[in-house]
């Protein structure tokens, strides 16, 4: 065994949060080591070779929650990160009916809603303004380590939202099932239920994000998510960060009650007074820490992921899909009505797949944002809610899920199934840990700080909603650097 090596900080996990943490620490002149068990960096953004010249990230290629501070502080554009599509409208895809196109153009959106409901068309500008106002008021809580309390009228508005299920809140604004169905998809992020009190907060969280300087926007980066991962790696390395892949951490080493480093599977021990864990909460508190170090309740609370999950379905197409009435560079929602989500959730909680499944899909190749052989296209679909642990396992469910997605989209896009060359279904992993209302209403410090001195948590569950963000990594690094 080689002599023990000492660092200022060790980061466990090479996903976006881990990379962000390492980059911030390296920029602050800390001697930082990032350890990733896989052979490549990027976590869910890392390219997965699916054969035949086809490569994809585990996560869908749409970004809507990337921390804007990363772009400026780490100057990611210097390292090749740029948007391919800056703002994707949200399109409620309706078979045989006019699409609902929700974009930054408020009046254009209202015109799109009008055939479905004149009252809803009239309400849309007020709804959007109110949603964005409340979302901005919540930004300090969702963007920084701590936030001052809310006051004034906005506090009353937020208090009402805290007890509101997303479906009930949307019902209070709109009549059109088509419009509500399109809006509901974002409220089911992280396994939340539309009927769950407080799930309306997920819509606020989504609207609080900012991509390319635009509030509530969705963006597809050029080169897809692997380009984001590559830019973060380059930024950290440029500042002097050290990376090791194929390095599986087996244990967080403690010196009495404080972090002292990590032990690798190889037996090597790397010492550091600060350890940031960007892997899942379960792995951090259950696997890497000796049992009994945390309180038994604290550790046990890391053992209960949401029973609801999502899957990423990729369809390789021989032709670009033709969707009338909406730009191809959009986020398309396939859901008949709000009850579609609820029925799917009930089935998922029983370990089954619903008869109809809500789907969000994009065609990233329309923006030159995907690695495919020439002449081919990709449709990337997120399907939720699904059972995290289906009866009979994912091997049984995977083919049926792919078939169901094809059938759902085939009814809306002419010749879609005819143009499919292959289907890949990427099932949930532990980075898709779900969320809960408590995370949406508590500051980052509650999740990043741990009972072990010198240990900071910035895994998927550190963000209010598990998403490609990097914010937890930034905040954890900043907290770690505080005296």
């Amino acid at each position: 065994m080689s002599a023990p090596v000492s660092y200022d900080a060790i980061v466990i996990g090479g996903g976006v949060n881990g990379l962000a943490a390492a980059a911030y620490l390296a920029r602050a002149r800390k001697k930082v080591l990032l350890l990733e068990k896989r052979d490549g960096l990027g976590g869910r953004c890392a390219p997965v070779d699916l054969g035949e010249g086809f490569s994809a990230s585990r996560a869908a290629p749409v970004l809507y929650a990337l921390d804007p501070r990363l772009l400026g502080d780490l100057r990611l554009s210097r390292f090749g990160f740029r948007p391919a599509g800056r703002e994707l409208p949200l399109v409620g895809l309706r078979g045989g009916a006019k699409q609902i196109v929700l974009s930054r153009n408020v009046h254009g959106t209202a015109a799109s809603i009008l055939p479905h409901s004149s009252a809803d068309a009239a309400a849309w500008p007020r709804f959007r303004a109110k949603l964005f106002e409340m979302a901005r008021a919540m930004r300090p809580l969702w963007w920084e380590a701590q936030a001052p309390p809310l006051d004034g009228d906005i506090r009353e508005d937020i208090a009402r939202i805290l007890s509101a299920g997303a479906s009930a809140w949307l019902d209070s604004w709109f009549k059109s099932e088509a419009l509500k169905a399109a809006l509901c998809f974002d409220a089911t992020a992280g396994g939340l239920s539309l009927a769950e009190p407080g799930s309306a907060m997920a819509l606020l969280w989504r609207a609080a994000q900012e991509m390319s300087g635009l509030q509530g926007a969705a963006m597809i980066p050029a080169g897809g998510l692997p380009a984001l991962a590559a830019a973060l790696v380059a930024a950290a390395q440029d500042a002097g960060g050290e990376f090791r892949t194929g390095a599986s951490v087996e244990e967080i080493v403690l010196d009495e009650d404080r972090a002292a480093g990590v032990r690798l599977r190889s037996g090597e021990v790397c010492f550091a007074p600060v350890v940031l864990s960007a892997v899942s909460r379960h792995r951090t508190f259950y696997d890497l820490l000796p049992p009994g170090v945390l309180g038994l309740s604290h550790a046990a609370s890391s053992d209960r992921p949401s029973p609801l999950a999502q899957a990423h379905v990729l369809a390789v197409l021989t032709n670009a899909p033709s969707i009338g009435g909406a730009p191809l560079a959009s986020r398309f929602i396939v859901a008949e009505k709000a009850e579609t989500y609820i029925s799917a959730e009930l089935a998922a909680r029983n370990g089954e797949m619903g008869d109809e499944l809500p789907i969000e899909f994009t065609v990233p190749t329309s923006l030159d944002a995907f690695i495919v052989p020439p002449g081919q296209h990709v449709l990337s679909a997120v399907v939720r809610p699904l059972p995290r642990e289906p009866k009979g396992g994912w091997d049984r469910l995977r083919p049926a899920l792919g078939a169901k997605v094809i059938a759902a989209i085939d009814g809306l896009i002419p010749n879609f199934s005819r143009d499919i060359a292959r289907i890949e279904v990427l099932v949930p992993d532990d980075a898709d840990a779900g969320t809960d209302i408590a995370r949406l209403t508590a500051p980052y410090t509650h999740r990043v700080h741990t009972p072990v001195s010198g240990l900071f948590f910035c895994g998927p569950e550190a963000d209010p909603v598990s998403a490609i963000s990097g914010r937890a990594g930034r905040i954890a690094a900043q907290m770690a650097m505080c005296p």
Binding site: P291, G292, L296, H298, A300, D303
Partner: protein
């Protein structure tokens, strides 16, 4: 507490039902048990003067087994079970992450990798999740066995008459094969008695044998009411009766010191769950005491008045046949927890007592009554 829980009968139910002349029953830990067998006061006196048989099958019993069982139980308990040798046991508390009392019970080491935890209140979910964290096998066996307590100065004589070698020390136990029955003979209880455990299918045989062996000593069955009297006389606070354990979702629970249970925490054991929080706590402002009441009427959960102000409250109160007065466990301000401190309280009103009646009371040393020596 258990209004929505399934109520079960113990393996001795056929015998206790036959001996329960007034059909009085009570629920304990999800089991239905005889409240008394005719006269709880006489049964409690018999435990002091003769010998009684109590059905203790309701007590929760769980196994921890595996290579990490010792570490797991050591982490759970406020005394280090790793120091036990097979055949030895200890009493301890288990605390929540905040240092509040979740439960109290006994830990018996059957083998290097096998521990039994017995307690008056079940906490299986807590134990099970701790076992998962230590990759230890966990199994609840409460319904698989039955247990009888033999209490009184003639308890050992009854066992001798039954052909059992009862020469075991307090907090010890022994597995025996007794005329075709696999039993465990232990001394885990608080009344210097003996406990005999066997498989549920053998319980009626066990009952009959002990009753026959005890007949020359005027053995009688005792119910829950007599057991409660013995507990209060011994100064033992009971979970869900005298205090609310700090289980998940409950308000902040009691501190060990406020229940007089600090002796069940080993200062040298640094790594039990909640240890850091417990050590960081300010000292408790109240202490557990015994209260003798100048009345024969018990007064449970009533305020205790000292110098015109409320300075504490009683917990469970019973009439003690040994002392021929009402007694109670109580929590009082720490500076008043001195034997002889005078209080007053108001007896609860009832059909027989339509007017509030203040009576005098005073702090008494615990235990009120010590167990009688074996004969």
């Amino acid at each position: 507490m258990s209004s929505h829980r399934r109520i079960r009968a113990t393996p001795f139910h056929a015998r206790t039902a036959a001996s329960n002349p007034f059909n009085r029953w009570a629920e304990r830990n999800g089991f239905t048990l005889a409240l008394d067998f005719g006269d709880a006061q006489e049964e409690a006196l018999a435990a002091r003067a003769n010998v009684v048989l109590l059905d203790i099958s309701w007590r929760s019993r769980v196994w921890f087994e595996g290579a990490n069982a010792a570490e797991c139980v050591s982490c759970l308990m406020t005394r280090d079970a790793r120091r036990l040798q097979p055949g030895q046991s200890l009493k301890a508390l288990w605390l929540n992450d905040d240092g509040d009392v979740r439960g109290a019970g006994g830990v018996a080491r059957f083998a290097a990798d096998r521990f039994l935890v017995a307690s008056a209140a079940e906490d299986s979910a807590w134990f099970a999740q701790a076992a998962r964290q230590f990759q230890t096998s966990f199994r609840e066996v409460t319904e698989e066995q039955g247990g009888l307590a033999l209490i009184g100065p003639f308890a050992k004589a009854v066992l001798d008459a039954a052909g059992l070698d009862a020469d075991i020390e307090l907090l010890s136990f022994r597995k025996l094969f007794w005329r075709g029955l696999d039993i465990t003979l232990s001394r885990w209880g608080e009344h210097a008695g003996f406990e005999i455990w066997c498989d549920a299918d053998d319980c009626l045989i066990l009952w009959d044998r002990l009753m026959r062996a005890g007949a020359p000593f005027a053995i009688r069955a005792a119910g829950l009411a007599a057991s409660d009297i013995l507990d209060i006389e011994a100064g033992i606070p009971r979970p869900h009766r005298d205090y609310r354990p700090a289980i998940d979702g409950a308000p902040s629970g009691p501190l060990p010191a406020s229940l007089g249970l600090e002796s069940l925490i080993d200062d040298a054991h640094r790594t039990f769950n909640g240890a850091a929080a417990w050590r960081a706590r300010k000292p408790a402002s109240t202490a557990l005491v015994g209260i003798e009441i100048d009345s024969e009427t018990p007064a449970s959960f009533v305020p205790l008045i000292h110098s015109g102000a409320v300075a504490g409250h009683t917990l469970t109160s019973v009439h003690s046949p040994a002392l021929r007065r009402a007694i109670a466990l109580a929590q009082v301000e720490k500076h008043l927890a001195v034997a002889g401190t005078a209080f007053s309280l108001v007896l609860p009103m009832s059909l027989d007592q339509a007017a509030a009646q203040p009576v005098a009371a005073r702090v008494a040393s615990l235990p009120f009554v010590k167990p009688a020596d074996a004969l």
